[in-house]
């Protein structure tokens, strides 16, 4: 009886979680491809929206997809490494300015970043003139910009996790003559895979969805990411007509995220907990 109640409750929440996704699926396979003709349950099925999306001349979806996945993978990998370096120093070493540094990392995140866009725009106007390869409309420039946020909440999460890894391990390695670099790469890194997986996933999801900076930074259609490109797809007059293609694009966009999630799944739950419990 009790158990049945639990099932009912969970099923209700599942329905809440799934019905918008069902709507997206229904819109994606809706042969008419418009918002007005889309229902919760599809009236017909076809892959027309996917075909239109992938062969469209106006919307280089494949190009956007590649840009997004490339930027998200590169930026989450690089920021993970930078963040891990810092977390190692904060957790294992004692130095002047350690407390202040940790606090500052947290505080700087609380300033509304988007206002700095004016300044960032001015910086990159200069950069575009001097080094076009890292200027506006380039993945590399956006990547640099995203790396500015590498140290932040994630560093805290990792530091919390590292604090739970026994210190005796690195002390033993030190006595055996290992350098700090050897300890980092050979002792610490293998032990922190769960938290690496979690932060990698969080960073990946965050970058895939990032809209504000990318929207200012990427103007050229070929350089856009999925978030910027797909937003333009249903902007203004196209909102109704392109909805089917948009829904198809949404489902395709979810594929890399689900892929990364499945790849890292076995570490996720334990990683989230461990970081949080001690944090």
């Amino acid at each position: 009886m009790r158990l049945a109640l639990r099932h009912v409750f969970v099923l209700v929440v599942c329905a809440f979680a799934l019905f918008p996704i069902l709507f997206v699926v229904s819109a994606a396979i809706n042969p008419l491809g418009t918002l007005a003709s889309t229902d919760l349950l599809p009236s017909g099925a076809g892959l027309g929206n996917f075909v239109n999306l992938l062969t469209s001349d106006t919307y280089p979806f494949g190009r956007w997809f590649f840009n997004s996945v490339f930027i998200a993978l590169a930026s989450s990998f690089a920021s993970l490494l930078l963040s891990m370096f810092a977390a190692y120093a904060f957790s294992r070493m004692r130095f002047a300015g350690r407390r202040v540094g940790l606090l500052a990392l947290l505080l700087i995140q609380m300033f509304p970043q988007f206002l700095a866009i004016v300044t960032i725009f001015m910086i990159f106007t200069e950069v575009t003139e001097l080094y076009p390869a890292f200027g506006f409309n380039t993945a590399w420039g956006l990547l640099l910009l995203y790396l500015g946020g590498a140290l932040g909440v994630n560093t805290w999460l990792m530091k919390g996790f590292l604090d739970t890894v026994p210190k005796e391990l690195d002390e033993a390695a030190t006595v055996d003559g290992a350098t700090h670099a050897q300890i980092f790469w050979r002792v610490i890194m293998p032990l922190v895979t769960p938290i690496l997986a979690v932060t990698a996933l969080l960073a990946f999801i965050g970058t895939m969805s990032e809209f504000l900076m990318a929207n200012v930074f990427l103007r050229d259609p070929g350089s856009k990411t999925l978030a910027v490109g797909m937003y333009g797809m249903i902007a203004g007059d196209h909102r109704n007509a392109n909805f089917g293609m948009f829904a198809a694009g949404t489902l395709l966009t979810a594929i890399p995220t689900v892929g990364v999630f499945l790849w890292l799944q076995k570490y996720i739950v334990s990683g989230l907990t461990a970081g949080a419990v001690k944090g």
């Binding site: 158990l3 979680a17 810092a86 407390r99 999460l157 700090h180 937003y231 995220t257 907990t273 944090g279």
Partner: protein
Amino acid sequence: MALDVRETGRAAGTPPARPRREITTAFVVSRIAVLAVTAAILLYAVPPLVATGSWVALGVLCAAAAGIAFLYLTRRFVPAKYLVPGTVFLVAFQVFPVVYTATTAFTNFGDGHRGSKAEAVTAIETGSVRQAPGSPEYALTPALRGEELVFLLVDPKTKQVSLGTPDGLTPLTGAELGITGKVVAAPGLTVLKAPEAAARAAEVSALAVPTSGGLIKANGLSRAVEGRAALAYDAACDCVRGEGGPWTADEEQGYFVNAKGDHLAQGWQVNVGFANFARALTDPTISGYFLGVLGWNLVFALVSALGTFGIGMAVALALHHPRMRGTRFYRIALILPYAMPAFAMLLVWRDMFNRDFGLVNQLLGVHVDWLGEPGTARLAVILVNLWLGFPYMFLVTTGALQAIPRELTEAAAIDGATPWRAFRRVTLPLLLVALTPLLISSFAFNFNNFNAIALTTEGGPFPAASPQVGATDLLITYTFRLAFGAGGAQFGFAAAISVFIFAIVALVSAVAFRRTRKQEEVYA
């Protein structure tokens, strides 16, 4: 993530005795690698800086490169070796922009006040150029003298041909005129044909030929007129003379003002001290909104953080039962919203709330303008945000529940506690110890959740009486409109409001963190 910065372990400053190390191959190779990378970056970055004469940037770059090379060559400063890579990016792309932006809160930076005074004077003078009365409209032929672009100008009445360069106007003899009155050939010059001239349109319109009374500028590609500036800056009186003037410089406002109290449209950036902050607090039209927006903003952030936590925890608890079946399936279903791209799902939700063809109205069989009424719009954005946020809380709570020993709840049950009491007194406190830091960062994130509003309601619905502030506006979306909105950019004022936002979020978080630490001491 808690602010737990207590020094743990061994006392600071007494590293374990370590054996003296020899210089190994790895040591040498890593040092060479560092030097090579630094050199490569310098080799790439220096030439453009030299070419444009950006000496300050060059100095900063070289100092940074020298510092980094030194840091990784020496055996000392080990913590810095690990902190510097991330910090370089942090300083360049976050700290510097944020600090620079915060300082603009003390200026009137914005539309009409973008540049320096000298830039404003230039803009005013060039902007006031009108065709000089009685001056001829020359037939223009762009030509090349060597590589330099020059103008060949023909006076329509006298057919006199002149050569116009940035140095001035000189008469030219020996030029051959075509039927249209334009020059077809001239000694020592290459006359540009129409397509060639069109390719250099930007250069053509930039070239100004100074004359005794003003400037000759191209008007299109085949006409040129002499213009006179109606306004001219006079350094002696620090004022602009001419039409409607004199306009005296007012360094307080950053405008040229005349006796009637009018000002020229173009101003310059000046320091206004705390005027922006005072305006946010005292201007009745703004401070009235400010408190209203702040109130809704706090509700939105609190309900989002606590609501997602509540739903997530409830589902996690429901699934956390030894005889529960199908947990694997449920988990995947519950996590799916988290895997969908948030930006796209926000836009989908916006369309599901559409009055005419939205799914919500279809399912409920009603005809409600969800995003058009203040009450329903607020309900809608909170619902959307709960949908987006609860899977994360579910994941986290599931993990944290696993870490709570079952013996504790079993012991409570044996002692005769009802399940509710056992949850209130044992499970919840232990969960909160683990999850309060995440709740706080969730609050801080939702307080500034720009996307959740901008991609759904864009702050609306807007009351007809005051179109500046909508019912679902957060401080951040309101500020965004101030800074970049259609009503003209007010960066200085927007920066001042950002400083307020920062103070509020930092204050709430700091108080919450203090409470967490006390809690940890009680329960941990």
